[in-house]
Symmetry: C2
Amino acid sequence: MATIYEVSKLAGVSLATVSRVMNNNANVSDATREKVTRAMTELGYRPNSIAQSLASNCSNSVGLLVSELHGPFYGPMMSGIETAFRKQGKHVIIAAGHSNEEREQQAIEFLISRNCDALILHVEAISDDYLIELSKGKTPFVLINRYIAELSSRCIILDNVKGGYLAAKYVLEQGHTDIAYISGPLWKKDAQDRLTGHKQALAEYNLSFNEQLLYQGDFMEDGGAAGFQYLHNNGPQFTALICANDEMATGAMATARECKLKLPEQLSIMGYDNVFFTRHVYPPLSTINYPINEMGRMAADWVLSNVYQKNTPPLQTLFEPELIIRQSVLTHPQ
Amino acid sequence: MATIYEVSKLAGVSLATVSRVMNNNANVSDATREKVTRAMTELGYRPNSIAQSLASNCSNSVGLLVSELHGPFYGPMMSGIETAFRKQGKHVIIAAGHSNEEREQQAIEFLISRNCDALILHVEAISDDYLIELSKGKTPFVLINRYIAELSSRCIILDNVKGGYLAAKYVLEQGHTDIAYISGPLWKKDAQDRLTGHKQALAEYNLSFNEQLLYQGDFMEDGGAAGFQYLHNNGPQFTALICANDEMATGAMATARECKLKLPEQLSIMGYDNVFFTRHVYPPLSTINYPINEMGRMAADWVLSNVYQKNTPPLQTLFEPELIIRQSVLTHPQ
DNA sequence: TTGTACGCGTTATCAG
DNA sequence: CTGATAACGCGTACAA
């Protein structure tokens, strides 16, 4: 592999000059620039990015931590991020945290030890304190789907109370009044917010929230299944079920069907996230759109702007949810 | 950030010795090892992985190229790969090729320019010739889901003709004789193989393959939809439809339902891949399992073994498909 | 067992 | 506009 040194010899210039033309930096006369580029192509020269990193103290890599590499939610997010970075010649190193505090911490340390210039984190288990502490370190990071007041400018989030509100309002508009709710783990901010929005809508309709119709799930399929089972057996009657995310809605649908309920005739179901497979379940699931792809891209833009000083479109940290109507919610016969 | 130099000073030893204890390499007396480690923790020393890479000519990074970062198929694959590598302190750089020849090439060049020690490629559009040429370069790579005779030992593949055979056989066993088939793009080896297996099963049942019941799809949802539409309007009658992958099966199901067919009563449908959402469609889709997660892990083991000389479990390049029975195929009434 | 000295391929700081 | 030359932080023959 040719080095900058050989190029300089062949072009009859110094190392510094070659470096200059590579980086389009200082003023170089067209003549010498020409000589150098010719030498480069002749030798098939390729810069050694590692040497560049060492010398410039910039690895051009950003670490991306998600809970799972599979899972319908993270794919579009990674996709938006990778696309944005590759256009700029940065590369992304991925790691999975598995929603587990220790593993999330390990992943972060791993990414930092890899000399990432910045981190994009979608973490769930790690504490606010840890992140606040981390923010004092030298590796900058953005948070997706997590709000910490002290770090607010680096938090890219969805307006979850609005989302919860939209879901409930839509169901209410269809005439339902007995509405069950399977929430996420309520120690999570997003789960709380969605529930808050839900209650707001109820209040607008002068309906009081019935604690008997609440089940705290885990954002996973099994939680939805268990939730439906529990509510079906122990709770009061309900004609609609709102789940705090699509996976739980899916689990609930499967279990409801096992209980011989006809969907959506005997039970309207509403999800949240608009994960791609919601179109394919039966009946197609009405849900709330979570623009995770755009949010990923925005996280990338944040890094591009704040770490690499690139020009980017204006940054935005709060995103809006949107109602997606399909066929899983029926008008309630009066 | 402390460097090896400061550690050596504090420990009262030379740079080389510090380096030695870091790499557990040469013989170092317990006493000095002790001194050094103490100095390291006291300074909170962290090795600079970039400097290590430059000096050792090993970046400890492997490039992973998939078609899409989203999409149900690649998630489990990336997951298996990332897990295997992180255990060994290697990191994975991801890139998306978008099933497009030019972009796949760009991605490969990008990864190579990033000094990856090895590449794991799931490519679709790139030519065999390009890959054979690439194999002469200095960056080793493995191929997933692609067979090239000249590169056979680095091809990790599924026995697709067997998979095609299993799918057809199962449907035949249920008494169907009029079976439509939506294939993948037939210039792709895996699409061909699946169809070959399909025909084999038919032959075993003394049934001749009816070209009228074949539609060439694109492995995507729309292809399945178009395929069903076409076969439904133009083809002979059929009581079962086998699709060469789950996405097309999903598209076909949606369209069949739009055509007022009751599923699975009026049409049995079979998929291929066992992508995770097949459990959630309605009716739950019978399909062929593609152990992509394991295959990803195997690709990682290949790299660990061949590039990093780590001990790994025995390598395996050919994987077996498996029949997954759910509820989308009904016994055909005689 | 330990230390010296050089090399890895660039960038960056000065002079000129 | 261009050229020396010193970092960058570490691995590794080679010598001691």
